[in-house]
Amino acid sequence: MKKLLLALASTAAVIGFATGASAQEKAKICFVYVGAKTDGGWTQAHDIGRQELEKALGDKIETQYLESVPEGPDAERAIERLARSGCGLIFTTSFGFMDATIKIAQKFPDVKFEHATGYKTAPNVATYNSRFYEGRYIQGQIAAKMSQKGVAGYIASFPIPEVVMGINSFVIGARSVNPDFKIKVVWANTWFDPGKEADAAKALVDQGVDILTQHTDTTAPMQVAAERGIKAFGQASDMIKAGPQTQLTAIVDTWGAYYIKRTQAFLDGKWETTSSWDGLKDGILTMAPYTNMPDDVKKMAEETEAKIKSGELKPFTGPLKKQDGSEWLAAGATSDDGTLLGMNFYVEGVDDQLPK
């Protein structure tokens, strides 16, 4: 038994040494995922980005990832393990990894960290996020054109600024086409429960909405929309498979370009702390093909997309009123990013009371 253990230990040591040696030739770029890399939504989008990174810089780097890392104390251990194993640059891809990332970054000042969707930075911690709301503005415009009843349903997850921002952007987009447009919001209070998301979708349809959008992660609402014969929008990934005749377009997270840019900077020794918040123009966010809609609607959507990319159109531009009718932005004024990132109020047109 002792001999066996000894043999095992020495083999492990040799393997450890071997990987350690090869890591010096190639830079090791590591990822921490909150879900499974095939979840069809958030994490899959990040993993596709990692694969694009490997394709682009594969001769200079190797990548490693940890899947389904729960937010909380386990995240700290996972990130520390990667830092110890020789990762030079570590991407942590969930909001809940923020504090763990900062903590481990203090322990490993020579390792660079990038945290997705957070707001805390350090000399060796950068943050990155995506302007998902730009896509929701386009969806709102499409919804206003496609809806017969002038009411859309919005399946929301949690009342955090990110989601509130999305709801508002959708409404502002819709009202730019039809000033009387309204949306109904149902909070599922979960990111991930297909049954509950489907029930929320059914409830909205039964109460008279004829177009659906979602800020939760599964394709269940799309399935309900397909069953009931109404149109819907996909979220995080292209969900066209769940509703070939249903999906109008989807917001698709595309992180690849960002991962390549930042890894290149790291290899060149030019990596610096940044708080990046890119959008449609940087390709970090793309729209799934505009389908199942008349040509004029498609044309409008494409034009809006182009205007947002060129910077000519900013979704949060006045005149805009808050839900209670009070003035928010004067004509021509645009919202600053700080207000957006802390958004805790509805704009006019939302048929819901914001949970506090």
Binding site: A36, D39, V186, D193, D199, A203, T218, P355
Partner: protein
């Protein structure tokens, strides 16, 4: 379809997996075994039902696969706790974790595929009754089965000789053993029945509720089923009523939100659980009744003297 009808239809769909998983656990617990692995068995049923449906194209074969998979998976728990006398609570929790992990692995190649829905079967004549017909007699086979299982379990437990033996095993395994009842075999079968029911509940999730496979799609319904068993104080019809109550509360809170009632959504979302706690309090108020129904040997290991 009127809005009341629409609500009732979604209530039935939401309640069926809870009732099914819970009725299986009720039988398991009546035999004196506490299996906390319901969530794990359920998710295994969901993934195998979806996989076999995709491979064969027949949701009925998928449904059978879900039942079989739940039953087989439960036997792992039975072997560990009944033969090796492992701790039931710890083993049950492990079964849940294992089920979630294994199902995720098994289902990887089925992610994102378009599911095949188990179609409703209209029962002739009955389906034409206004209001009641479309609700109760135009349903999928799993709903009919769930009602049949509840009725069957009630009959079995309180009207059959085998049911009497099973209850005896749950109440006092030593006495039952002394009377010549095979305690271990009875418990193996009860655990297997529980697994089969949980598997069928899982099949309902991936074939009726939301015809697709995503990881961990049972989303805690197994735990609600466990609460329902206590809620019902181990009585089949009360359990079914509890399941529908729970479904009704959780669906109506979504409608309340869509209707625009100004109640905080977090509060509304917690209503089903609040309802469970309230009923548990009401039931336990009558302590004597609860104690009479609780299987006295619940969770206690049985080691026959050799």
């Amino acid at each position: 379809m009127g809005i009341v009808e629409a609500i009732l239809l979604s209530v039935i769909t939401a309640a069926t997996p809870l009732v099914l998983a819970a009725i299986g656990e009720l039988v398991t617990e009546r035999s004196g075994v506490l299996n906390l692995g319901v969530e794990g068995m359920m998710i295994m049923g969901a993934v195998s039902a979806f996989a076999i449906t995709q491979i064969t194209g027949s949701p009925y074969l998928g449904m059978l696969a879900g039942v079989a998979c739940g039953a087989i998976f439960s036997q792992l728990f039975a072997f560990l706790t009944l033969t090796l006398v492992a701790n039931q609570v710890a083993t049950g929790l492990a079964l849940t974790l294992l089920g979630i992990g294994v199902s995720g692995m098994m289902g990887e190649s089925f992610l994102g595929l378009q599911g095949i829905k188990l179609q409703p079967i209209a029962i002739p004549l009955l389906a034409d009754i206004p209001y009641i017909g479309p609700l109760l007699f135009r349903q999928d086979i799993i709903f009919y089965l769930s009602i049949a299982v509840v009725a069957g379990v009630h009959w079995f437990l309180f009207r059959s000789r085998a049911g009497l033996k099973l209850r005896a095993v749950g109440d006092s395994h030593a006495s039952a053993h002394a009377l010549g009842v095979n305690v271990i075999r009875t418990r193996y079968l009860a655990v297997m029945f529980g697994g089969a029911c949980a598997g069928l509940a899982g099949a309902q999730l991936s074939l009726v509720y939301t015809p697709q496979w995503v990881e961990n799609m049972s989303a805690g319904r197994g735990w609600i089923a466990l609460a329902l068993v206590v809620f019902s104080s181990w009585r089949p019809w009360r359990l079914a009523a509890g399941g529908y109550l729970f479904g009704a509360v959780s669906i109506s809170q979504l409608h309340a939100q869509a209707f625009g009632l100004g109640i905080p959504s977090q509060l509304l979302s917690s209503l089903p659980y609040v309802a469970t706690i309230v009923v548990l309090i009401l039931i336990s108020h009558n302590r004597r009744m609860t104690l009479i129904n609780t299987p006295a040997s619940l969770g206690k290991p049985f080691v026959p003297d050799r």
